[in-house]
């Protein structure tokens, strides 16, 4: 029987790799990147099918990797980078921690809980304010620009010489975009794009360097204003999520490392567990401010981040979201001269879809599903093109000045294309009283009419989306819409990934709304009884959902965001079906846009479940072995050597204890982190010193919190030769009860434990509690279901 032979071959493999594992854990055992292995669908390894990747090509110079150029992105998604650290969502329950918790009274816990609420309220408030600032700045600056250009065009339409207008428009756009691009490319490259992939990674538990710093926030906010005002095919919504996350990371720590200010508050929250919770709240507040969708925000955070569902946390996240959308709404109501009118939450609001007019019918659902499939196809095309473009950029456009020039080029081309489209369009519409065009371009239209192509090109994309959803049938003619769809599709695709901070939500919605509306118009014209399809806005909404779903492949949170942005439960089912179809169709060809960019950065991203066919693998195969262990009372020199070993660069070390009997094997008794050892070394917590200086103050949890999160590198800590001979007692500082699994635990089981508890290190122990291996994030993220079945990614130091 095939089944038995498989089992035999497996156990023989296990024996091979188990040779070292059975021995006593070694000190300083360095871990080599493993050869690439690949598993076929039924689980047998097939070595060598994957072409070996030239590692040298991927290596970037030290200086470049420090500056964080996109060059450090290895352009091969079959690699997994080892440079990303994980967040520690599991509390480090060492003696210090337990003592602190035990000292705390019930009232103390209540106060902590209240301060968590206060922090969430602050996060919501500040995120709302930032959204408000971005909105007003964009509206004012864009208004100024459009007025100047419109005046110019109006002047030159009669006398001729519109090419001057074109040049004016293009130069204005390029100049504004240049400012944004310079900020991003030269000062903070991580602020490029929407930031959603980075926040996804952070919420997943990967520490992306500099992603939640104040500087990033400032660059992001200024950058997004420049890109939107500069007329690029981008939206201001995506970056809100990143902004909210930065606000959360800053506020919750009660200090700013960049500004060197410590407010001495919220010190309890200075650890990964609490910080990650607050960042979820910040991301949710960002979504909520962007789309006026507090519930959608909560679901976004949960979909991307949560592993363990915690009711109080969810409730706080919801509170932050509510405050954020409320703040935005409240301040914008003053800006719009309707003080106290709280009916317009969110930066973009799709406007109310009246359900009185019949909403939709059962027989329209197949049509919606077909639109979903089409959206999936178009989305896949978008992603594939953007993937190639990104690889091209990684190879050839990695210098900041080149990036700025590319951004300026895109801005100029966008202006030129828009101008050409408007120029050659003959689609004139009467300028009625209901058409609240902000900048109606008359151009060559008769008096009292305006150019309808200009409505979608000569406006911020948010206004164009609303216009496509809500203007009555007949406002746009089919030719306008098809031309617009095609040009905007390529412009948006080119724009995403530029060194400017901007989002892809709105462009995707706009493309979808355009072809959706086109579909609605065509449907009405080919059916005999056209009146029942009378509302092309409905199809615009479905098209927008389909296109966005096809590009980003979010499902649950996106459905709720769309539902909340339309303020309508009725369209819930069709939107959901459309998003599902778009995801299924799109996934057949290529992954979602965010996932592509995450993979291109080789981030060890953990998905929700282990790959379905991975029951073949056990902890024995998955774990890293041999493990660098430390003794409970260890020589300082050994610790310094272990930490300085750049070839391994481990972050967690199991602590073992020699049995009373000398030939008894040493048993696991705890786990200690690099960051803790660094603090211990810095404070010189050596046994000999403790004896000599009895008055010395005991190291407290506060010392660890003060060093968090930027622990100094080992190189910066000076340990003299004498001190190297001292001993360190780790008992008090190690986590004495790390989670362990036996060698035979299946990968899905290991995965579930790891994911549900947000672990960073999981010790694999044998049946007498000896350490035989260590499972970390990269060990689990390595396995994924590729087109050839279960595949194993390579590990790379970059």
């Amino acid at each position: 029987m095939a089944n038995i032979t498989k089992k035999v071959s497996w156990s023989s493999r296990a024996d091979e790799s188990g040779v070292t594992a059975e021995g006593t854990p070694l000190l300083n055992g360095s871990e080599q990147p493993r050869p690439s292995r690949q598993l076929s669908r039924d689980g047998i390894f097939q070595v060598g099918r994957l072409s070996t990747v030239d590692l040298e090509e991927e290596m970037t110079s030290e200086e470049e990797s420090l500056r964080g150029r996109p060059k450090e992105i290895p352009h091969n998604e079959k690699l997994l980078s080892l440079k990303f650290e994980s967040l520690d969502y599991d509390n480090i329950e060492n003696q210090l921690f337990l003592e602190e918790e035990r000292r705390m009274s019930y009232m103390g816990f209540r106060c902590l809980e209240i301060s968590r609420w206060v922090v969430c309220g602050l996060i919501g408030f500040l995120t709302g304010l930032i959204a408000c600032f971005i909105d007003i700045a964009v509206e004012e600056l864009a208004g100024m620009k459009y007025r100047v250009v419109k005046e110019n065009i109006d002047n030159f339409t009669e006398v001729g010489g519109l090419s001057i207008s074109l040049i004016l428009w293009a130069v204005l756009n390029s100049a504004i975009v240049m400012m944004g691009a310079i900020l991003v490319a030269f000062f903070e490259p991580i602020a490029a794009g929407s930031g959603i992939p980075q926040i996804k990674c952070y919420l997943n538990g990967v520490k992306i360097p500099r992603v939640v710093r104040l500087k990033t926030l400032v660059v992001k906010v200024c950058g997004v204003i420049c890109s939107v005002v500069g007329g690029l095919a981008v939206g201001k919504e995506g970056p809100m999520i990143h902004s909210g996350a930065v606000v959360a990371a800053g506020v919750s720590q009660g200090r700013s490392t960049s500004l060197k200010r410590d407010f001495k508050i919220f010190e309890y929250f200075r650890r990964d567990t609490e910080k990650r919770d607050f960042v979820s709240a910040g991301a949710a507040a960002g979504v909520s401010a962007a789309f006026g969708a507090p519930v959608g925000g909560v679901l976004f955070s949960l979909e991307e981040g949560a592993s363990f569902w915690n009711q109080m946390l969810t409730w706080r996240i919801f509170f932050a979201s509510m405050i954020s959308t409320f703040t935005l709404n409240f301040f914008l109501s003053f800006y719009h001269n309707k003080p106290g009118d709280l009916s317009n939450p969110g930066l973009i609001n799709f406007g109310r879809f009246e359900s009185d007019s019949g909403a939709y019918n059962l027989y329209e659902i197949p049509l919606f599903i077909a639109m979903g499939a089409f959206g999936g196809l178009l989305g896949a095309l978008f992603n594939k093109l953007n993937y190639w473009l990104t690889i091209f950029r990684i190879r050839y456009v990695h210098r900041p000045c080149l990036q700025v020039m590319e951004a300026m080029l895109v801005a100029a081309v966008t202006a030129a294309v828009s101008f050409t489209m408007i120029y050659f369009s003959n689609d004139c519409q009467p300028l009625g009283s209901e058409n609240k065009e902000k900048y109606p371009l008359q151009l060559f239209c008769a008096d009292g009419e305006y150019n309808s192509m200009a409505t979608i090109f000569f406006n911020t994309p948010e206004i164009s989306v609303r216009s496509l959803f809500h203007t009555q049938a007949g406002t746009y003619d089919p030719l306008t819409l098809s031309l617009f769809t095609i040009t905007y599709f390529f412009l948006a695709c080119w724009t995403y990934g530029l060194a400017v901070s901007a989002g892809v939500f709105i462009p995707a919605l706009l493309i979808g709304a355009a072809w959706g509306r086109l579909f609605g118009i065509l449907l009405a014209s080919i059916t005999p009884n056209g009146s029942i399809w009378a509302d092309p806005g409905k199809y615009a909404l479905i098209g927008a959902a389909a296109q966005l779903g096809g590009v980003v492949r979010m499902t649950l949170s996106l459905t709720v965001i769309m539902m909340e942005a339309t303020g309508n439960v009725t369209y819930g089912l069709p939107i959901m079906l459309v998003l599902m179809t778009a995801k299924i169709v799109g996934d057949y060809f290529v992954e979602g846009l965010y996932d592509i960019h995450i993979k291109l950065q080789s981030v060890p991203f953990l998905h929700w479940d282990a790959p379905a066919t991975s029951h073949w693998l056990t902890a024995r195969e998955v774990m890293s072995a041999p493990v660098t262990c430390l003794n409970r009372i260890e020589k300082v020199g050994t610790i310094v050597d272990v930490l300085s070993n750049t070839s391994t660069n481990h972050n967690g070390f199991p602590v073992v204890m020699q049995g009373a009997d000398s030939d008894e094997p040493s048993k696991l008794c705890g786990l200690i982190l690099r960051s803790q050892l660094i603090v211990l070394l810095k404070h010189k917590v050596f046994v000999e010193l403790a004896r000599s200086r009895l008055t010395q103050r005991k190291l407290q949890l506060k010392d660890f919190r003060d060093a968090y999160p930027r622990f100094p590198p080992i190189q910066s800590i000076h340990v003299s030769q004498d001190e190297r001979e001292c001993m360190m007692d780790l008992t008090e500082f190690m986590n004495a009860t790390p989670y362990t699994v036996p060698l035979e635990t299946s990968l899905p089981r290991v995965f579930k434990l790891f994911r549900a508890l947000g672990l960073r290190h999981l010790v694999v122990a044998d049946d007498v509690n000896r350490v035989v291996g260590l499972v970390t994030r990269k060990d689990l993220a390595r396995y994924h279901l590729g087109s050839h079945g279960l595949e194993e990614l390579q590990l790379a130091q970059t």
Copy 2:
């Protein structure tokens, strides 16, 4: 230092209890109920402060506990019943399971996933149909009743003799309620009430007997129709959640044990993990159908049930919810003669609150919060009264016939009170064209007018709620509203807990809407510029939220449900603040209504986190020890004896293996469940038999699935004296990689592991992997924060 002395006293305690723990695990060690201990807020045990509970008083006769009378509820919430089993949310990864998973191809997993979606679709569809059936039945029957009574009243108003109308009304109500009460009291007592407490427990992981059976569903549906038609102060919404859950449990198993039909489909889903997931979907579909709130339904399920957040599961739950509300909406649109109009999702719809008219202002928020506090107070009063009533009922009204009589009495009193209120009311309103009164009672009003008290009393509660929310200012006079609030408050309180199936959502909303509207009217009359408070409907909404929040204390899901039912994001923040205030104020006095009823049943319910001040406790104190262990190859006789031991009645047994050396201690090597052992015994999987009957078919996972979930008791399995001497090899069937924790793990850490993975048994092992204890649900649920700090509940066999 106090801290050190505490530590010393703790370790000495630990040594005491650790004496047996250090020894080799005993066979058949019976676990005695522990003496009640109580911890003060800073963690020191204070023995004897809690008065010892008379256990004998709580014991019920075997026959009674089998029939499931409410008598089996011990009326002391300081007890924790041992009779409730836990669900096993963790997969039992034994060899059989792993072999099956490994045999399955990638396509197999895809098919499974698709069938999960099909099942969820079916759940949604059937739940929607049931909701539709209930709605139509209630509307038709109640309409018939109201027409008869109205005709009678109209006749007798002129000629005098309205007492005949009163008698007619009271008799009609009593008769209808009697039918429902007989069904519930005599056929399926578990169908009483809304079923939400039971479903909360099930989703929490407690197996409540008979709660998801077909018979329960039938009784529930018929019962709820009778109670609503019978004019009780109840709603038809709560029971939908229970109905959805039953549908899910039935459909997902592909068979009905009650009907003895096995469709041979979905056999893979016949285990606790999958079933619990589907039941979450069913509960969500129920909420969704009841309130037209698909997102609220998902959040309800997650709030109550989920511990580990699984994206695909959440997405499926959402799908079931969507289908459910869509199905209901679709079929009801035909019933209401507006085919295809999908704008009325849900059994109750609060109607659109127009936000154009300014919605609310910032300065109204303190008013809303005050209303929330008032709602919390009223809710606490409601709960306290209902608590005393429930204890009274447990003591004196436990016979079915008494229960039926009480229900009839309540129905008659409700009719009498309503009649009296209407009779003495002088609040006449003009019968305008916009007032779409279904059954306007003229009574003593002038022609063309109607009695406005009758609008709220002479209608199903759902219609009354809508009327309070939306009729224009001036429809109700303050006296009417205050009288109504008071009478309805006591009626609803008396009604909840009767032996009829009915929900408390709508009555609570109605009470709140009444006093909220009253508050709005008073506000408008005392302020100089009354016009800005012109809309009393807004205050009715806030009052309804406050009252409901004060009674049930749900937060997150309730906010979303209310937001979806009003179709408005704008009111999200006030509703949230109101619900939070109501919860905080209410929790100060007494727990939520559902929690009270759960506690009165002594269910070992696990909350979200361990009590805040429980870091003092470790696995050593929490675990049950000594543990009954089995050897990997164990004598059949021993197994039968262990299973038959009624004094312990354990459900999980660690499996140990003797080391090669005889004085080496036996090590943990697996965990096996009672249900598995029962199946093994039933199929006589004995080592000797396997040798003699080589052709015998191997026991498969299917055999375990076929026996699920009603495993026979050990008494029904006959094992001969010869067979008792045989051996059983458990290797293949035990879970070889159970989760373990060391002795020193703190309670919060144990709790988190247990909760996040939905465990049933957690083995406590020492540093050489010997079994020293076992942590189960009851060990964790025992500790709770009472008014005197950390308290420990007593365990009782009942």
